[in-house]
């Protein structure tokens, strides 16, 4: 199937080269045919997709605007709820869960003409960096099938990389959009916290969770973000700041922009990764950016802060899976308490249990101040590092991950080593600033490397302008 973009689909539809229905049928068949290679999708949604496609065709026939995402096949991470369409969160516990409502992002992307073709595999409840924590098997990286696609939004990244979806939605709590985007060689965006409503995003760590888009280009990722962003009264933390016209900002002009390179982001990098990121920085200089070294001194504490705050919030959020409301109950004839415990023991995988346990521990009597409050204070210091940096520079660039995609099974036995690999992505989530990964070439072994771009709260336009200018210059 030919590679399409949001723009090329729109043109083809408006010139009647194909109908949305024809294109959707072809996209569904292609995705289903290709899926055994990667295991990117858990569920296909032909009925819903074809109904959405017919709506687009009707609008075109009536001469109405079919929407910014008209006819675009979209894959959605299986932690975002879809009414009537199975949503598993990559967990055995929710294998048969059929949500009774749509997430706000889902409603908005369909209003814009987007076609949801399926739900994608992910680490269980978005907890993981390799997609190996899914109860439904790992996803294989389309670039190198013996390697992980990254996580936790591995299926959404793989679907776009494999060309079975033009864009997709993932979620990012500690790097779960940017890291798989970098591993699979696609664009992945974590917007400002609150830019996209979390209503209908299954809660992992509420103060850190973001919905974010994947695409092959910055332009397409920006189009998807624009469609789903904005105030939503169903999420009290969603921001009322107006959503800019992101496409208008993609003018390729980055002359005079001040770019900061945090020295802490270049320690302990794999040499291939460092080379690609440095080459990208040279390109930005040639485009007229002023590059200077900066310091984000509290970076080294970010992992510790994250694994306290995220697990504390997770232990509360995952308390709802108790065998009463969500489809799965352990076959136990015992007491109510035994039913809760058996259901959760059988339902959750090892990583979820580890995080629930850690989160419960750090919140428990005697440890709350030493761990949880301490972490919240250091989180404030990490956020302040960024605030001070953005007084000197317009954007920060660096690596996404210290190394490229690793082999399936390579890191499963060492949870701390897996956690440490999130060092460059976690800080952005803790501060709530927009950040993204844009492909910046391949290692000598042919594995994709991602360039991370970070800007201040609600400065997605600057971030997209830098990413787009870099893409134009490097392709």
């Amino acid at each position: 199937m030919k590679r399409h973009t949001v723009g090329s689909i729109r043109q083809a539809l408006l010139h009647r080269e194909f109908s949305a229905e024809e294109f959707t049928r072809e996209a569904l068949a292609h995705a289903e045919r290709e899926n055994p290679k990667t295991n990117a999708y858990l569920t296909f949604s032909a009925v819903r997709a074809l109904a959405a496609a017919e709506a687009v065709d009707r609008k075109i026939a009536a001469g109405e605007d079919p929407g910014a995402l008209a006819g675009v096949p979209v894959a959605v991470k299986d932690v975002i709820v879809t009414k009537g369409l199975r949503t598993t969160c990559g967990s055995k516990l929710l294998e048969h869960y059929i949500p009774p409502y749509d997430a706000t992002a889902i409603i908005r992307l369909e209003q814009a003409g987007g076609i949801i073709i399926g739900k994608t595999n992910c680490d269980e409840f978005a907890m993981g960096s390799s997609n190996e924590n899914s109860a439904f098997g790992p996803v294989r990286n389309p670039v190198a099938l013996d390697r992980v696609p990254g996580g936790s939004s591995g299926g959404s990244a793989a679907a776009v990389a494999q060309g079975t979806a033009v864009v997709s939605l993932g979620s990012d709590t500690g790097g779960s959009v940017r890291q798989p985007a970098s591993f699979c060689g696609v664009v992945g965006v974590t917007p400002t916290y609150g830019r996209v409503s979390r209503y209908g995003l299954t809660a992992f760590a509420s103060s850190l969770d973001h919905i974010g888009p994947f695409a092959t280009t910055t332009k397409d990722a920006a189009a998807l973000l624009e469609a789903i962003a904005g105030r939503d009264e169903m999420d009290a933390t969603s921001a009322s700041a107006p959503v800019p016209d992101y496409a208008a900002a993609l003018n390729g002009d980055v002359r005079g922009l001040k770019i900061g390179l945090p020295r802490e982001y270049f320690e302990g990098l794999a040499s291939d990764t460092g080379d690609r990121v440095h080459a990208a920085v040279e390109t930005l200089k040639k485009l007229g950016c002023e590059v200077r070294e900066i310091s984000l001194p509290h970076t080294q504490y970010a992992i510790a802060v994250y694994y306290i705050i995220a697990t504390a919030e997770a232990s509360a959020n995952l308390a709802r899976y108790d065998g009463v409301r969500y489809t799965t109950r352990a076959a136990s004839s015992g007491t109510l308490t035994e039913m809760y415990r058996e259901t959760r023991d059988q339902g959750f995988g090892a990583e979820c249990k580890r995080r629930i346990m850690l989160g419960t521990y750090v919140l428990s009597a005697g440890y709350y101040d030493a761990y949880y409050i301490k972490a919240q204070k250091v989180r404030a210091l990490i956020a302040r590092d960024y605030a001070e940096a953005f007084e000197q520079v317009d954007a920060i660039v660096g690596p996404v991950s210290p190394f490229p995609a690793f082999k399936i099974g390579e890191k499963v036995d060492d949870p701390v080593a897996m956690y440490l690999s999130d060092i460059y992505t976690i800080t952005g989530d803790l501060a709530g600033i927009p950040c993204m990964s844009v492909p910046c070439g391949l290692t000598t072994g042919g594995l994709p490397v991602g360039l991370q771009i970070l800007t201040s709260h609600f400065s997605e336009t600057t971030m997209f302008r830098v990413a787009n200018a870099y893409e134009q210059a490097s392709t």
Binding site: I98, P100, Y101, T192, G194, S207, E233, A236, T237, A239, S240, A241, Y301, I303, A304, V305, Y307, I308, S315, A319, D322, V324, T327, T328, R329, S332, S333, G334, T335, L336, T337, E338, M339, R341, E342, R344, D345, K353, R354, M357, L358, T360, Y361, S364, Y371, K374, A375, Q376, K377, V378, R379, A380, L381, A383, P415, Y419, L420, A431, G432, F458
Partner: protein
């Protein structure tokens, strides 16, 4: 060890998780190694720093309030559709009160 197997069992009870004996051992080892990394935070003096509970940015004062009006909610049958056991419009659970 920063955390004992006995503590792991106590936390598992708080978290409503029934861990098997082999899981308890592994959990103690994993949590110990994570807590070892977390100890790093004690290097920092955070006296006088306000804890950051939420990402905050400039917003109008009423940004988090929505209009107080009635709106449609899920029907009883929709709300119960995913329940593993229900009856007479309620979620069913194992007997809690013994006669």
């Amino acid at each position: 060890m920063r955390i004992t197997e006995e503590e792991v069992r106590r936390v598992a009870e708080l978290a409503a998780l029934a861990l098997r004996d082999d899981e308890v051992e592994r959990m103690a080892k994993d949590l110990d190694s994570i807590l070892g990394h977390i100890d790093k935070l004690n290097e920092l003096d955070t006296t006088g720093i306000e804890p950051m509970a939420q990402v905050l940015f400039e917003a109008e004062e009423t940004a988090t309030l929505r209009e107080d009006r009635e709106r449609p909610t899920l029907s009883n049958s929709e709300a119960l559709r995913n329940a593993p056991a229900s009856g007479n419009g309620y979620f069913k659970v194992p007997r809690v009160i013994e006669r």
